[in-house]
């Protein structure tokens, strides 16, 4: 191996190896039209559906009439959360489907670096999917989510981090329980949707559920979104709350992924991936 390769970098996470995996999934996306279509399809269908509901409710609901973008913003930001979680889980499952994990983990790639590559691919997929739907909403419903300005960036970052955290947890779960558990990738996030207040204020919930909502970064984001749209104020306190929770969530997401990876090494699941 003399002179053939870069010097080994010890325990430092390697950007080169993270980039290698991002490249692997970029090749895959580039070669597969259906995969790209799937990225944009569902966010766009959801946006169109809620766009027409908004058009109807603007003339039938005084609450919606105050801020006509509240439902469209809700659906687009919810898709940021959903797509970012799905992005992590699906990209990881691509490795399982292609029975490639054995090769990956005999290479110098660390599990943490795989995790970082999953997050990067999730970001790319979310930008393509939700970004596409958000752009289509401008000519179709004369609504631009980008009019929220900088707060939108704060909402986006918080939601994507929460999505990554759940995506890492789900990926570890699928590694541990096999591809028979892959449906978790599509359904897991919906457990938090009712208590996230995507389409209604958190105080709509029963009091005990409001405590649950307080523990979710997403509920603070959606409350913050409504503050911007209805009251034209940026609630930094809500965003700070979400950010602090996200530190805990992302740490727990990585910790669970690494713990499941260790269990997979004990049980021999890196070579024999199946149902």
């Amino acid at each position: 191996m003399t002179g053939l390769a870069h010097a080994h970098t010890g325990f430092t996470p390697s950007l080169r190896r993270i980039y290698a995996l991002v490249l692997r999934h970029t090749y895959l996306l580039r070669s597969s039209g259906p995969r790209i279509l799937e990225l944009v399809y569902w966010p766009t269908v959801q946006m169109v559906l809620w766009g027409f509901i908004t058009v109807f409710l603007v003339s039938h609901s005084s609450w919606i009439a105050q801020a006509s973008g509240v439902l469209l913003s809700g659906v687009l930001l919810w898709d940021v959360l959903f797509r970012s979680q799905l992005g992590v889980s699906l990209v990881f499952m691509e490795e399982m489907w292609s029975r490639n994990l054995g090769h990956l983990f005999v290479s110098p790639l660390r599990p943490f670096e795989l995790g970082c590559a999953l997050l990067t691919m999730s970001l790319i997929r979310t930008l393509i999917g939700v970004g596409g739907a958000a752009l289509i909403a401008i000519p179709l419903f004369h609504y631009s989510i980008f009019s929220m300005g900088l707060p939108l960036l704060a909402f986006f970052i918080n939601l994507i981090i929460m999505g990554w955290s759940i995506g890492l947890l789900v990926s570890g779960f699928v590694l541990r329980y096999g591809l028979g558990a892959e449906s978790m990738a599509w359904i897991a996030i919906f457990a938090v949707q009712p208590v996230s207040g995507v389409y209604y204020p958190i105080d709509t919930l029963p009091v005990w559920l409001q405590y649950v909502a307080a523990a979710l970064p997403s509920s603070h984001v959606f409350e913050g979104m409504r503050a911007v749209l209805f009251d034209h104020v940026f609630r930094a306190d809500l965003l700070l709350h979400a950010a602090l929770l996200n530190v805990v969530y992302l740490t727990a997401g990585f910790a669970s992924f690494l713990a499941y990876f260790k269990i997979a090494r004990v049980r021999g699941q890196l070579l024999h991936v199946g149902e």
């Binding site: 191996m1 110098p108 260790k262």
Partner: protein
């Protein structure tokens, strides 16, 4: 006596109540080609997986290049590589894309030059731009070997390197491995069911049965010990537990 590249000490692997590998110890000498032989379920793949760090042993220790694989495997992973019929490459990616990704993972400096050199060595140039999933079994085996050679490993672990190949392709792969070892002096540990392959390539054979190491020696030593003409007959003797009746020497080896 050449130094050991791999040193395995009393490793066992239990899956609940199933004992896949039971108190196995062996060394692999530098620049040797060593075979792990045994029937289905003998523990070959499990042993290789533990050597690679893909599987954690229930007990025992493994060192590769003097490094504890259970604690510091990332120090040695850049120096080894492997292939296995149980592990695939992404099927939609072309051969070139697959090799590029793995070249980056191994930190290869001049990726194009390295891939071109492997194209020459393994004759994979004509399907370099085809998706891996569209290749024949023989072509896939060559691509996986190219992946296994990307970093010019000092240690190669090969799980059934010629499984499901036609005789011509299998012979080609064996010739390539022989030439590569001569050129680079790499150490090879391979698991195989093919006895002619073992006779041709290996200078040391470790026999496993039901997770235990039951005999060991050069192919010539084993043929003499069992009074057989070829390794296939030796394999059958061991698989059917005739070895303990045949020679007290083998009992001694098994105890060690």
């Amino acid at each position: 006596m050449p130094p050991s590249v791999v040193s395995v000490s009393r490793i066992s692997k239990h899956f609940d109540k199933v004992i896949a590998v039971d108190d196995v110890s062996f060394d692999v000498a530098l620049r040797s080609t060593t075979a792990l032989l045994g029937g289905n379920g003998a523990g070959k793949t499990t042993t290789l997986s533990m050597l690679l760090g893909l599987l954690l042993p229930t007990s025992g220790s493994i060192s590769v290049f003097g490094v504890d694989m259970l604690r510091d495997r990332y120090q040695v992973l850049p120096r080894l590589n492997f292939s296995s019929p149980y592990v695939d490459l992404p099927r939609r990616l072309t051969v070139r894309e697959n090799l590029t990704v793995y070249a980056r993972l191994y930190g290869i400096i001049n990726i194009s030059a390295r891939i071109n050199a492997l194209c020459e060595e393994l004759q994979i140039g004509r399907f370099l731009n085809r998706p891996y999933g569209q290749l024949s079994a023989g072509e896939k085996t060559r691509v996986v070997l190219a992946k296994a050679l990307l970093n010019e490993p000092e240690l190669m672990l090969l799980d059934e390197p010629t499984a499901s190949l036609d005789p011509d392709t299998a012979d080609y792969v064996r010739g390539m491995l022989e030439a590569y070892r001569k050129r680079t002096g790499t150490t090879i540990l391979l698991a195989s069911h093919n006895m002619s392959e073992v006779e041709r390539l290996c200078d040391d054979v470790i026999m496993l049965r039901a997770g235990k190491l039951v005999d060991r020696g050069t192919p010539a030593q084993l043929l003499t010990r069992y009074g057989r003409q070829n390794m296939e007959e030796v394999f059958i003797d061991i698989a059917r537990q005739r070895h303990l009746e045949i020679t007290p020497d083998s009992q001694q080896v098994a105890k060690q």
